[in-house]
Amino acid sequence: MNIIVTLLLICGLLFFTGGAVGIIRFPDFYSRLHPAGKLDTAGLTITMGAIALYTISPFSIEALIIALKIILIAVFVFITSPTATHAIIDAGVRAGLKPWRKEPEADE
């Protein structure tokens, strides 16, 4: 059980690292929000799943309730985080930000 939990945690942390690197490395607003929205949600879901699995490993009713609460956090973030990303991108579109092109002058 411990091996599975460790593997899941490492996997989730890899997603988080990818998200952080993506936010720094991508060129403009819209592509930066892409890793922030997707990879963080995936990483958090996997990490919370690992913690829930670790909690119920000696099985009891109290442990099951705590694990359900942890799963609730994951569900909540799974709903709200993409919505927040959508709202930020919507605000960017209304503020008139142009998406990045490879040759900005070429298609004028």
Binding site: F76, I79, T80, T83, H86, A87, D90
Partner: protein, 276 residues
């Protein structure tokens, strides 16, 4: 001016760092701050009030007088914000935007034109910032009931876990502010109006002071909840626990209403028509 400020700040900082050498080291269990009155609170909270969360019992029972006047300060801040900003005479804006719902066309009606009534045909929308985002609104419709249930849980379960009236009230107020941001200010005001918020501000403080007054009528000290034992039909220690819960509900109502009042007035600059 800038040089004087930097010199003053540097001098004061150096003086404070010099004085900090006399403090007890961080985390010392026998420092003066934690050796006089706080051991009494820690050791006697279970037998006095049967509340395991020491912070709640000190907040509402041992130092209930302090908390009552903090609540009054919050209430006063809300009233002061209303007096500072609220514009009671209706100032018509130059133009208003309406959306014709069956076709989705946005109409701009200049000043002097005939404004249509709010119906299922026309819906008024903000002129500065137009929230018509269906994803955001659907998510908020789904999330807000859970936030409010969580806020009630935080108020009611503050005896056994972190939480209490202040936190629960702020979370409840934040759910209404979230509604006002995701939809618009007018639909939030339609659901929770100005009169209701002002009434709830006062009601919260009144509940707090009223519980103290009932204790006094039964011959005990002000805010000594063990007098409630006869009314509630429990023993004196449980009565103190229930009295703490009542007081927390009052604090939660006052804080929630004040947060909502502050947001309404700040976001619309006192006009209560177009918000963030």
């Amino acid at each position: 001016m800038k040089a004087i400020g930097v010199i003053l700040v540097g001098f004061l900082g150096g003086l404070l760092i010099y004085c900090s050498m006399d403090f007890p080291p961080w985390g010392d269990p026998h420092s003066p701050a934690s050796s006089h009155v706080s051991p009494y609170y820690i050791e006697h909270t279970l037998e006095d009030t049967s509340v395991p969360n020491i912070v709640t019992s000190v907040l509402a029972d041992y130092r209930g007088y302090d908390t009552m006047f903090e609540t009054v300060v919050i209430f006063t801040a809300g009233i002061a914000c209303i007096f500072l900003l609220r514009v009671f005479k209706a100032v018509e804006p130059e133009t208003r935007l309406y959306r014709h719902l069956p076709t989705g066309i946005t109409l701009r009606i200049a000043q002097g034109g005939k404004f249509p009534d709010d119906s299922d045909q026309f819906k008024r929308i903000d002129s500065d910032w137009v929230p018509h985002d269906i994803i955001l609104q659907t998510t908020c419709r789904m999330i807000i009931p859970f936030i409010q249930i969580f806020a009630l849980y935080v108020i009611a379960h503050g005896h056994h876990s972190p939480g209490g009236g202040f936190q629960g009230g702020v979370i409840f107020g934040a759910s209404i502010i979230l509604f006002a941001i995701a939809f618009d200010l007018r639909s939030a005001i339609k659901r929770m109006g100005e009169r209701l918020t002002a009434f709830l501000c006062a009601l919260g403080v009144l509940i707090y002071a009223g519980v103290g007054l009932v204790c006094m009528l039964y011959g005990n000290n002000f805010l000594d909840y063990s007098a409630l034992a006869d009314i509630l039909g429990v023993d004196r220690i449980s009565a103190r626990s229930h009295g703490i819960l009542m007081v927390e509900i009052g604090v939660g109502l006052a804080v929630m209403a004040v947060m909502v009042v502050l947001y309404y007035n700040l976001a619309s600059a006192g006009k209560h028509d177009e918000g963030l």
